[in-house]
């Protein structure tokens, strides 16, 4: 399996191979022939690998009896899923209304300009992913940025790039 395009890409760029044991253990959690667990399964795949490797989806389809078209339709419909590997640091700038009127767009522009990635994309060296999120529900601390899941509130323009590059 390490010869497949996907596995090769991952091991080359992140130094992580798709672990066959991990895949097996993951797939065994879902009952054979039960298509209803599709979304749940995709969530677990996303959580395990940080993205959704195509190969794993194909094997999942076999197991739970879902046509591939349907699985990929779901994997591309929901924002929580990504078919591309994510960077080591995921920068999620909240662009909810409260954050927007307190200047979230300026933060997005700053990071985007400094890392040269568009929102939703990952830097070529797989170090950073810039994302926007529609509201994390921490509006009182607007504008909010989450760095690998840790929330930072009241982020001022001009301070975010330093925080990211400092690896905090």
């Amino acid at each position: 399996m390490s010869k497949t395009k996907d596995a090769g890409r991952v091991s080359e760029k992140t130094g992580r191979k798709l672990d066959e044991k991990k895949i097996k253990a993951l797939l065994e959690r879902f009952p054979e022939g039960d298509p209803r667990c599709l979304i749940h399964a995709l969530q677990d795949i996303q959580a395990t690998f940080g993205y959704i490797p195509c190969e794993v989806v194909i094997r999942l389809c076999d197991r739970i009896g879902v046509p591939m078209s349907k699985a990929f339709s779901a994997a591309t419909f929901y924002k929580a899923f990504s078919l591309d590997p994510k960077g080591d640091l995921i920068i999620r700038v909240c662009t909810g209304t409260a954050c927007h009127i307190r200047g979230a767009q300026t933060l997005v522009d700053e990071v985007s300009g400094s890392l040269k990635v568009k929102p939703g994309a990952t830097t070529k060296d797989l170090k950073f992913t810039l994302e926007t999120v529609n509201c994390v529900g921490a509006c009182a601390m607007a504008p909010v940025v989450s760095l690998n899941g840790k929330y930072h509130g009241n982020v001022q323009p001009g301070t975010l790039v330093g925080k990211i590059k400092g690896g905090k």
Binding site: L42, A74, T97, A98
Partner: protein
């Protein structure tokens, strides 16, 4: 059915923890209450998302360490409790010391030593950590005296900030599951529905549909067809700027579960789901634990409280799609499909999840249900207005001094919420508008501030209640930009199934993009209105039907601002970057250098105590200088 929760949520304890009857529920509540009364001091540390981000966990841990180290526990009999969100997120982390109610804000781990020495061991209040009331302009010592809290009437949020959401017994000691006990032991399902009917409870998720009527239709449809039915909870709180449901799921998950079990009993359902938003990880953890604990205690699952009634609930996690807050899309998503809405010729109460009759209510609605059963439908109906009874939780955010969660009786005015509870606008700037109802809602201007807030009045003014987000805007907010923002949001979140929404909203957004970039043309506003009319008429679901609301309501109240963008090529609020410049006022600048220090691109020059200057070519219009200037010297010019 596929049902294997995450490993940390699986049950460990056996049946010895089960509560077999209504009587033993009561004796457990009494027992826990007696235990709690032995404590002379209780320290409540807020552990909601906001406070955690500011370091609440470190505060709680170092408090616990300090107490153990100094053996204060034996001396004073105190306990530290990690509670859900107090709702006053901006001032976090918050620490409340009971029974005195001493309220400390912005507490850091380094403050713990002083709190222990002065407040716990001594009797001294630390002035530095007290909250300063911006209206009365003085420091306030206790929780009860803070206008932000004292003006509220909390029903859905009744336990939040008081109980530990991870401890089911704490909820029981605060009267939890009493409503369920009453329903199961003393009421017939029809009587439960009657009671909800009498209370006038309307769905808190946005639509405002009477909950009792929804339940009855579902029950009747299912009985007639002799079919199973489902009771679901919508925790897909997608409206940006709203976080009431997040706080309830995190801070009082059992209230939601209890409400659902009561609803299931009334409707006759045996299973259901809570559909939780992907962006709320802590809510998922707390709900999952609550479900496990409730099962162990026999308050969920088979033979609840020995009554013979069985109902179980599972968590379904969302995938980060706003449209899944729509009922038919949500049900598709729960069933493992792509969350696209369907045309609702047949309502989901008749054909919902797996095509069976289904009741779907949102988190806040469910949290109200146990209170209505224990306190009585009339007590609920006595609050609020005639057609909108009870209370409503709002998340008051944006450019307002006290941001956070507020729960107030329906019918209160916007002015009271924003200026009395919210303390007014940051920096006492002029109020411009308040946005309610999320992307489907609208903006209301100052002239409508004395409007009574309830479902029907807001709709009549071109906005809506929505789930309860309330975003306050000052004169530095551009209304065209706000409308553009919401349209962009909806362009991204439209599922793409029907053309008016997929293509129409996109075109609407492009028109506004042009206007904000100074490329607006004569006739654009008329085009916007005509296009909006088509979208409202022809879209499939509520997302599309209400999508033009933000632009229509801002056009209705702030048409001059649109015209200034189109004709004058000027953004008076100083937001649309191509349509203004910043200039430092000769008269107002004191030469304090604050702006020069704040500028991220170093384009402000000037000597101390002398007029500063902005080099416009380098300026990125980020507004950092305007935010820091205390003399209002940074002005917006053409």
């Amino acid at each position: 059915m596929f049902n294997q929760g995450p490993s940390w949520a699986r049950s460990k304890a056996g049946n010895e923890m089960r509560i077999e009857s209504v009587k033993s529920l009561k004796s457990l509540a009494d027992k826990v209450r007696r235990e709690q009364k032995k404590r002379s001091i209780e320290i409540l540390v807020c552990a909601g998302t906001g406070c955690l981000a500011n370091g609440a966990l470190e505060v709680a841990e170092s408090l616990e360490r300090a107490i153990t180290k100094r053996k204060l526990d034996a001396k004073l009999k105190l306990g530290v409790k990690r509670t859900g969100c107090h709702g006053f997120c901006e001032k976090g982390p918050l620490v409340v010391i009971q029974p005195a109610g001493i309220f400390y804000k912005g507490v850091r781990a380094k403050d713990v030593k002083e709190i222990v020495e002065k407040t716990l061991e001594g009797d001294e209040i630390i002035k530095r950590l007290l909250y300063r009331d911006p209206v009365a302009k003085k420091k306030v010592e206790t929780y009860q005296e803070i206008p932000f809290y004292s003006r509220q009437h909390r029903i859905a949020l009744r336990n939040i900030g008081k109980i530990d959401p991870a401890e089911i017994d704490d909820y029981i000691a605060h009267g939890g599951y009493q409503g369920l006990a009453t329903a199961l032991s003393a009421m017939k399902p029809d009587e439960v529905i009657d009671s909800i009917d009498t209370s006038g409870l309307r769905g808190r998720g946005g639509g405002g549909f009477p909950a009792g009527r929804k339940w009855r239709t579902c029950r009747n449809a299912a009985e007639e067809a002799d079919e199973p039915r489902y009771v679901l909870c919508n925790a897909d709180e997608g409206d940006p700027g709203a976080f009431m449901d997040r706080s309830i799921c995190e801070g009082d998950p059992h209230a939601v579960i209890e409400g659902m079990v009561i609803g299931a009993y009334a409707v006759g359902a045996a299973s259901g789901f809570i559909y939780v938003r992907d962006e709320y990880p802590l809510a998922v953890v707390n709900l999952a634990r609550a479900i496990t604990d409730a099962r162990e205690r026999g308050l969920l699952g088979d033979d609840i409280l020995g009554s013979g009634f069985s109902y179980d609930v599972e968590i379904a996690r969302g995938g980060g799609a706003f449209v899944c807050g729509e009922s038919s899309a949500l049900m598709k998503s729960v069933a493992g499909e792509v969350g696209e809405p369907r045309a609702k010729y047949v309502h989901s109460v008749i054909k919902g999840l797996y095509d069976k009759p289904t009741v779907l209510n949102n988190v806040e609605t469910w949290a109200n249900v146990p209170w209505i059963i224990t306190e009585g439908a009339d007590a609920f109906a006595a609050l609020g207005t005639k057609k909108s009874t009870g209370t409503k939780a709002f998340s008051l955010v944006g450019k307002v001094k006290n941001t956070g969660l507020v729960e107030v009786p329906m019918g209160i005015t916007l002015r009271e919420i924003i200026f009395e509870i919210g303390g007014g606008i940051i920096g006492d700037r002029p109020f411009k508008a308040v946005q309610t109802g999320g992307p489907s809602g609208g903006c209301l201007p100052e002239a409508e501030l004395d409007l009574a807030v309830d479902f029907d009045t807001l709709t009549s003014k071109g906005s809506m209640m929505g789930s309860g987000g309330m975003i306050v805007m000052d004169d530095q907010t551009c209304m065209v930009d706000v409308a553009r923002y919401f349209l962009k949001f909806l362009v991204d979140e439209s599922c793409g199934k029907c053309v008016p929404c997929r293509e129409g909203v996109n075109q609407l957004w492009l028109l506004l993009e042009d206007i904000c970039a100074g490329k607006g043309k004569k006739g654009d506003l008329e085009k916007i209105e005509a296009l909006s009319d088509t979208i409202v008429t022809a879209s499939l679901c509520a997302l599309g039907k209400s999508a033009p609301n933000p632009v229509l309501s801002t056009l209705r109240y702030f048409r001059d601002e649109y015209e200034s963008h189109i004709k004058g090529k000027h953004c008076p609020a100083g937001i649309c970057k191509d349509l203004f410049k910043f200039k430092i006022s000769k008269e107002k600048c004191t030469g304090c250098e604050a702006c020069a220090k704040a500028c991220p691109v170093d384009c402000i020059t000037g000597e101390k105590k002398k007029l500063h200057k902005i080099e416009n070519k380098k300026c990125t219009r980020c507004g950092a200088c305007r935010n820091v200037c205390r003399f209002d010297a940074v002005e917006v010019v053409r």
